[in-house]
Symmetry: D2
Subunit: 259 residues, 4 copies
């Protein structure tokens, strides 16, 4: 059984800000979003968490190992160094969908994303140290078999982008609707999913489904650990094993002494 | 008639790099990608261009106003400050799809994205100063009507993300297949499209199509200018007019003395 | 008695790198140095440490609370995201000068700063958890009385810079030679010193000395704590008390539950 | 005859901001300053200018080639992406000291650095295109002979820092008082001076003076050009010639087609 702790990070009152007092140049908005994400992903990563960009103004973190003080310190640093603030909702549950649903509800209860009085709010509960276990997190790391040869070197850049996006949507919908898992596009042809402890057979069935639906052959590395980093590094090593052995699904536990 | 100049930016040999000598921590990869994009978007933006993150290792720039030296200087700065290099293909054409298709072909001709000897390559031709015109670029800036109230404040964060993504895919596919336009998701519920000079009626038909297909009510601001920045700022102002007047499509030319 | 733990951070083989294969543009070098420092200061800061820019290619950290793994993780992240690596020497001692001297010796023993085979080396010992105490760190935070009115708004910018630099040099030399303390310029008219547990009278005598020598009236806040952050925040609050009460030296202990 | 254009960049009302509503953590302040400088140096560098960190809240740019619109666009981008704004004073003159003195006066006339209503002010005049010449800028790039062997690998890190700082102060004072030149420390053992067209003999006399005064043997590359980048790259190449030929002063003109 897994116990992922998820954090929804939302830029406060961001839509109005981008157009006040008049629309801001797009390059500055894009740069701000990317810099803010780069900062947040490192804050979270330093304590072994993952963060996904999602909609850029709404990001999702897998934060097992970060307590409330850790969250609050991140918020304070952002408030000092950026013209915007971020609010956060956090929750843990047995499934990723359950955790994110509660984390969202916690944040929504504190006010609208466009409420101009909601600033740097932090709502919800993190896991106590005594409630954490070595197997709380499962990560599945996907990529497309031979994506460079099939897409990047072969199709025009937008067509390649469309194929990858279509594959991601199919994959993410299926994982969400049938397995309570949350899948995020992380660049190139890579997708990382927070999973509720699925087994090798389920991933095999899943690979077959996506290949049938959108002709996208996937390979998957699956890892388990106490934190996103432990589970994620195990998943990456498993994915390397897929590439070397030309298999489609590999699973490993976290190395005991991994970082 | 438009004449967009598009630049495909590709991180050289990036896939292998992320796993050499062993898989690198995801937080560092995410941070690197975001920092690189933030840097590039500002380089391009400084000279009135736009850049879209697309697949993060493949980015697309709308670069009317940047010549070959500008591109080369950006590459040199990245090569100095990052552990990776970027190669670029560039081309101008009457339609966005035509330009990107040629830009891609130019880059592919220089070697595979995973060719470890292809580094900081620049291929293709930029527009000469004498060939440029005040109306070379058309930008359409979309967002969803009442997205915060309908999605962000109402649904759980992943469900909201799925709706926005589904809307984006429908919109981008339709623009690509029927209008030779390229649409990019830029955060929140915002999509920016490089268009080949479509008229108000075409955008109205388009809005109806998307609303019928995925129940996503859109509003669109359309702008025209000599550069991405000029056209894009005009589009943003037009979109503000939609919000104020509760209309669905507004178009404006660039202000003559805009930045 | 204090027990500061100091880390000397050195960019590996940096001089040759800046001129290979030919001299790199100064703006890229400056940007790289500043981005690397911004990154490192946040890594160290996240775990309650301080970092000083010093010579930019040689930085000094006050790192009580960071163990070897923390140092190693920082090095790995830098190695992934930058074209350069950093080596580190670390040591704790009763005095700041003693600690930095050993930290330097530890690093020098691993090879020259221009040895092109020395990469991401980490040498020396961090404090064990059982050896740490609530009073290990003393920070003194200095600024010049009325610096904005006297210098910034009154003199030309270079003359103001000269006065501040001359004041810093006098102050740093005196602290180093007579008190085994290390003082670093941190911007504006601010200097932060790592001190070996000096008392109020010693700081008073010190203020008089600097004012006599270079006509620079100082005010000083002094704080104590288990980490740079605790001691530094206490020092900042003490300095605020100086400004409000128009006193020249104030000292406070760390608040017990401070961040 | 030279004609340097200098820009004084000042963070608006920065001192109060760092302590409002209460003192901000030093790591966040240091990170903000470094990120802001990294950003500004690239903005300025993109258009062939140089920027020096100086006091971090007061920076000095050598901005031949940037007009008022360029300055204003930089200010607008900073105002969008940071919690602080920057004001600027700009002026050109025959000597560096003359230009900075006027640039400072221009900015001071707009209000105090701690005036909380002065935000993103831009004062002064940039050079018209017709007034610019190929030889407007002279740069001298200094470093210490064998600094790594003599200081970095030999002394403890603070002692090395003290020697370098003392050398810098001596050098900068002498250049300022006798030659109307402005010298800035740029990292390691490197100093860059904006000079008013000094000749080889003057630099030789200068090198002798510094070596006599503080036993610091210098080597100097001198370059000339229309912009900081042109003059600075020529100076760097001249300095490389010093290193190869073991000479102490080398001068070159800008390469005609340099970047």
């Amino acid at each position: 059984m897994t116990q992922p702790q998820l954090t929804l990070v939302q830029i406060d009152n961001y839509g109005p800000w981008t157009a006040t007092p008049e629309p801001r140049p797009e390059c500055d908005i894009q740069a701000l979003q990317a810099e803010l994400f780069a900062d947040l992903v490192q804050f979270v990563g330093r304590q072994s968490g993952y963060l996904f960009p999602v909609r850029f103004d709404n990001m999702v973190g897998l934060t097992n190992g970060l307590d409330r003080d850790d969250h609050a310190r991140i918020q304070a640093s952002i408030a000092t160094r950026y013209p915007v603030t971020v609010s956060m909702g956090v929750a843990a549950a047995r499934t990723p969908t359950g955790a994110l649903s509660r984390a969202t509800a916690n944040l929504q209860a504190a006010g609208s994303a466009q409420d101009d009085t909601r600033r740097s709010v932090l709502r919800g509960e993190t896991l106590g140290e005594n409630d954490r276990r070595e197997t709380d997190v499962q990560i599945a790391h996907f990529d497309a078999v031979d994506a460079t040869a099939r897409y990047t070197d072969e199709l025009d850049a937008f067509e390649a982008h469309r194929r990858i996006t279509r594959g991601y949507v199919t994959l993410a919908d299926h994982l969400y609707e049938h397995y309570d898992a949350l899948a995020f596009f992380v660049g190139g042809d890579n997708v990382i999913a927070i999973s509720p402890g699925l087994g090798r057979d389920e991933y095999r069935a899943f690979v077959d489904h996506v290949e049938d639906a959108v002709s996208l052959p996937l390979q998957i590395g699956v890892g388990r650990g106490a934190t996103a980093r432990q589970a994620g590094m195990a998943a990456k090593r498993a994915l390397e094993a897929c590439r070397e052995d030309e298999t489609r699904v590999e699973t490993t536990a976290a190395t005991r002494h991994g970082p």
